[in-house]
Symmetry: C2
Subunit: 341 residues, 2 copies
DNA sequence: AGTGGTCGCTAAACTGATTTAGCAGAGCAT
DNA sequence: ATGCTCTGCTAAATCAGTTTAGCGACCACT
């Protein structure tokens, strides 16, 4: 790769100047007393030779690599990872940086390995990303330099970027209240583990809190709350079926994520009920299926691209120590209507 | 990042030997005549100091960075990108390499920039990935070193890795024939653009070819073929509705991808038909929704993780020039049954 | 005694950049 | 003529490794 690239020495020689002069000119150093003509010659030579600096050599001296490590627990399993990475990639490019991506798969050995691999390559900083919003403790090895937590917080008070799940909970509840839903709102997706253990999830309790707070202020209580062991379609399906077996039918359903809502749709379809005429549904995440469902599903979007971007900005430009909350926009879609009757 | 790391000189000094000796011992060089005791001392010193080599310095001399560039057109839009990356990441780790990931967004300027950025960092090779299987021409700049095309082929005969879509077409058709479906098989997702322009898609024509070939051999013709401008749920929905409006109802549907099948499910549900009792459905891709649908959708899986892995293997271990075809496994699920009656 | 070979190790060159320290010449005042 | 500053530029050190060339001690053989 990149055999016979022109070096700085080649440029200097062609320009009839020293490496020093060439280096200074190409780096646009202020206060050097090199003549305008010298500048010309260096630029011309660099252009003619197609000179590009060898960043390995440069970084040996400057201890800057213009490279950021993106270390995450699991890249592939959730479709959101791509957006996180894309946002980071964009912001990095704008700042002339590049991303070294590694995955730990939640395995301590792999993590150790991944971190050594990136530190050996002298990265300028580390973005430590979790695929589910949660609290975690970062490995001591990366604390030697700048670190930003992405989609996670840590007890050490490191800079971090997380979605505003509580705000999303408020948006969701508010949307239903505004439509006139009152005492027949049911919730699908309560989960003790996710709610109580911040190392499993921060989203569950924040969303729940936002919903409760808004409903409380309106003096509205939830009609029913269904617990689910996981947030997958089958659990949403089961929960919805159990809700429909009860005497009072809900006018609206809040699902803790879109996959649950997808399952709920299936149960509603089987029961011959239509969304939103019979029941409104609203949810969290804005998974691509939300837009594909019939009717399209109203939800609050995880702003993953924004978050990836913010993480890079925080890392390179510095920033506040308290977690950066990125708002989750409400996507109003067809699954919402005023309560029937 | 990584301030005050021990250097090779530190290790050598502590071991009471020269840098040369330390370097040779740590690199496990054969044929050096250093004593067993010298080996001991170097290893001990390295261990005690927590020595890790500075790869920037090493690569300056060796012109190897143990880093691979993963350049793709679009990382985020398809959920499959993650699997491609994950497979590549795994294979790279096994070979002590790391991935530098960039995205071109299909924009020539970004592409130019991305390629310069990775070449400046002296990567050992480039994986050039497309998110939809297609033919493309690679930028001349990366031809100076090893290149592997991932999910793409090129006219230049570069090594490449693509899914075996034709084989998948055969699997799909065979699965239906084996169940007894004959002359009432309909196809959803014909698309002239995708079929005729290899720079748009290679999958469409290969899948179609595999299906046709298998049906022809069994002397079976397609009942109907629906054209779709895109392969999205809404198009599958519309196509399915039009099929149901015709006099003869199909016994089985082949959808060119899972999103079309998802739309077809919606139309079938609305029409009060059940899968697979009334109509079998089979498809391509193995999108996560395929397993979430009720009934779960039989489909042929895009082996993205395998492909990412193969690309790294081809790049580092070398390999044949003809495209590596990665098989697409058939996922037999609940949407298949013998024809009714 | 001289020659040659092996053993165990090291000095120094080299990679391609940045950066520090300083040199030669011009202009000017004394 | 001397000392001073300013201008325009360069030599050499430096970063942290790898690699080439070779040195001194010891032994064996003729």
């Amino acid at each position: 790769m990149g055999r016979n690239r022109a070096t700085l020495a080649d440029v200097a020689q062609r320009a009839g100047l020293s490496k020093t002069a060439a280096s200074m000119v190409l780096n646009g150093r202020e206060g050097t007393r090199l003549s305008a003509e010298a500048h010309q010659r260096v630029f011309a030579a660099a252009e003619e030779l197609g000179y590009r600096p060898n960043l390995a050599a440069r970084s040996l001296r400057t201890r800057k690599t213009a490279t950021i490590a993106f270390v995450s627990d699991i890249v592939a399993t959730t479709r959101f990872a791509g957006d996180l990475i894309r946002g980071a990639l964009d912001a990095a490019r704008e700042r002339d940086h590049v991303l070294l991506i590694t995955e730990t798969q939640g395995d301590a050995t792999f993590e150790q390995y991944a971190i050594e691999a990136v530190l050996d390559r002298q990265v300028d900083g580390v973005i430590y990303a979790a695929m589910a919003t949660r609290r975690l403790t970062v490995p001591a090895a990366i604390l030697g330099g700048p670190v930003v937590l992405l989609n996670a917080t840590s007890p050490d008070g490191l800079p971090s970027v997380v979605p505003d799940d509580e705000g999303a909970g408020r948006s969701v509840a508010t949307a239903l209240l505004e439509l006139g839903h009152r005492d027949a709102i049911a919730l699908i997706g309560r989960n003790r583990l996710k709610e109580d253990d911040p190392e499993v999830s921060l989203a569950a309790s924040a969303r729940l809190h936002g919903i409760r707070q808004t409903l409380d202020e309106a003096k509205v209580g939830l009609l029913a709350e269904c617990f689910c062991t996981e947030w997958l379609p089958e659990h949403g399906y089961a929960a919805m079926r159990s809700l429909l077996g009860k005497p009072k039918r809900p006018s609206a359903i809040i699902c803790m994520n879109d996959r649950l809502a997808f399952g709920a749709y299936q149960a509603l379809g089987e029961a011959g009920l239509t969304v939103p005429e019979d029941i409104s549904v609203i949810s969290f995440d804005d998974d691509p299926i939300a837009a594909w469902l019939r009717p399209s599903l109203a939800t609050t979007a995880l702003p993953h691209e924004q978050m990836g971007r913010r993480a890079v900005e925080l890392l390179l430009d510095g920033g506040a120590a308290e977690p950066a909350l990125v708002p989750m926009p409400l996507r109003r879609r067809r699954s919402l209507a005023p309560p029937a009757g």
